[in-house]
């Protein structure tokens, strides 16, 4: 029983990380119809930025978060401006282009920093555990869960309660007419892409104490994040949240009931089954190219 409770908790903290990665993917897909295959590398850049800040500047994970968000968002902004923006009318090519960008980023880090695993210390402030009966929760994982909820809330507010969000929703529904009312669709797209990249960066920063920081770390994570987006329903914030919990917990449960590899197979089989009956995910929304 204790094992299961603790495993569920670990699954929840993994789900929180997945949620932040998937949110960025979902926003970028929902807004622009772009499947961003470089998203995992944005996570990886976030992790390396955190490592670099800690190693060379002595800045811990928590104060590094805003810096990482801004720097990865800047990378995303440049990628959007230079490559993606020219390909909006060729959706299939954006997949290839972003995949290529991902490979370039991965190799650049491998050449610049090295292929060996890097370690980042968790914040001393959150080093202990909180115990409730048999349930032992690391304070850091608790923080990650709360933080991802806050990110979800902030994203929801940004999308539904701000003028930027309203402009974005207008552009998603009808780009031409939005431009006829003064909305700079290109600018809206750039900011949205940068925001999604920034979220990936933060996820990468938060994952560093839990995961080894290597150039290929993003690839596995982004696959799970894609599964979250597909299961949740493309472009749906609530769907992404529900699906990340579902997939995080399913992975955690299966890996104790069977083992990691078979658990993985079981999760994938479950998703295939779910997509068979709900092809547009749990919470489908109207999206428009």
């Amino acid at each position: 029983m204790d094992v299961i409770a603790n495993q569920l908790f670990a699954g929840l903290s993994m789900a929180s990380i997945l949620l932040m990665i998937a949110l960025g993917l979902a926003i970028i897909y929902g807004a622009m119809g772009v499947i961003n295959l470089a998203h995992g590398e944005f996570v990886m850049l976030g992790a390396y930025a955190t490592w670099a800040l800690q190693t060379y500047a002595g800045i811990g994970i928590l104060p590094a978060l805003p810096l990482v968000f801004i720097s990865v968002a800047a990378v995303g902004w440049i990628v959007e401006k230079v490559v993606v923006q020219n390909l909006y009318h060729r959706p299939l090519d954006t997949i290839l282009a972003t995949w290529g960008i991902g490979i370039i980023l991965q190799q650049a880090v491998r050449l610049g920093v090295g292929a060996e695993s890097r370690f980042v210390k968790g914040p001393a402030l959150l080093s202990g555990n909180t115990e409730i009966g048999p349930l032992i929760m690391s304070n850091y994982r608790l923080f990650v869960i709360v933080f991802s909820m806050a990110v979800l809330a902030a994203t929801w507010v940004l999308m539904t309660r701000t003028e930027f969000g309203m402009k974005l929703r207008a552009v998603i529904q009808n780009r031409a007419i939005s431009e006829c009312y003064g909305i700079e669709a290109k600018r809206v797209y750039s900011i949205t892409f940068a925001y999604g990249a920034g979220l990936a960066g933060i996820a990468g920063a938060l994952i560093t104490p839990l995961f080894s920081t290597i150039p290929t770390m993003g690839t596995g994570l982004v696959v799970d994040a894609f599964l979250v987006v597909i299961v949740g329903g493309l472009g749906s914030l609530i769907g992404s949240a529900a699906a990340s919990v579902l997939i995080g917990e399913a992975t955690a449960i299966f890996s104790i009931v069977i083992n990691d590899t078979l658990g993985r197979i079981a999760v994938l089989a479950g998703i295939i089954l779910l997509i068979r009956f709900r092809p547009r995910g749990l919470f489908p929304t109207e999206t428009r190219r």
Binding site: E163, K167, Q173, I177, E179, C180, Y181, G182, I183, E184
Partner: protein
């Protein structure tokens, strides 16, 4: 108020020129009706003014400013209010959000909705919090006009605003267009199939065929014979 001046305007979708050398003037506060059969380029003319076609050649000036090199949002901020064919309100937005969207083209940053819009179309006030997609066609058209007016435009360009709309609302919309032109001094370009209304409301007309201007003149010169010759199928 500003004037709009087109000189030898060509407009393309891909490589095919839909407009081929169109020239016209819209004086300050003038009402210009654009007439013609289906597929002669009337909608394309309005889209070209907003920069929504693939490419344009020739000259297009708004006031003192050449605007062919400007992006669509830049043109809208100069004060060109476009009411497209089929209304194209945002169905998932509320009525209020749709009208506020019009103010995004204002240069003074104001997000206030002018009161006179609700005097003109009281139904919009009643339905202010409803989803725009749930409105009837006629109500959506009123909303589309209100959205364009919320930007405080200098001229309005309207694409068949009464197409497919119940008759009692058609009258309201026509009265509103005339009122905007006469009482508020807005320059208007109206694409219209309803020749009697276009003739009575407009100062001048522009008759298009196959992407060219075949006839232009004062609206009272638009005789039934000319209508018969150029506008019947």
């Amino acid at each position: 108020m500003e004037n709009l001046k087109a000189r030898d305007l060509y407009s393309y979708y891909g490589t095919s020129p839909v407009l081929q050398g169109v020239s016209f003037d819209l004086q300050q506060g003038e009402f210009l009706a654009v007439l013609g059969r289906n597929g002669v380029g009337k909608t394309t003319l309005l889209k070209s003014i907003m920069g929504l076609t693939d490419r344009c050649d020739g000259g297009l000036a708004f006031g003192e400013r050449e605007i062919l090199g400007l992006s669509t949002p830049q043109r809208s901020r100069l004060g060109i209010g476009y009411i497209p064919q089929g209304r194209e309100i945002i169905p998932q937005f509320t009525v209020r959000e749709n009208i506020v969207m019009g103010t995004f083209a204002r240069t003074d940053g104001s997000r206030d909705i002018p009161d006179y819009l609700f005097d003109m179309f009281p139904i919009l006030k009643e339905f202010i919090s409803r989803r725009a997609g749930d409105l009837s066609g006629g109500q959506q058209q009123q909303l589309a006009i209100a959205r364009a007016l919320a930007m405080d435009p200098k001229i309005l360009i309207l694409d068949e605003p009464t197409e497919g709309i119940q008759p009692n609302i058609v009258k309201q919309i026509e009265d509103a267009i005339v009122w905007l032109n006469q009482e508020r001094g807005l320059g208007i370009i109206l694409v219209e199939q309803n020749v009697p209304f276009a003739r009575s409301a407009s100062d001048r007309f522009l008759l298009l065929d196959k992407g060219r201007v075949v006839l232009t003149g004062k609206s009272d010169e638009l005789t039934d014979d000319l209508v018969e010759k150029h506008l019947t199928f």
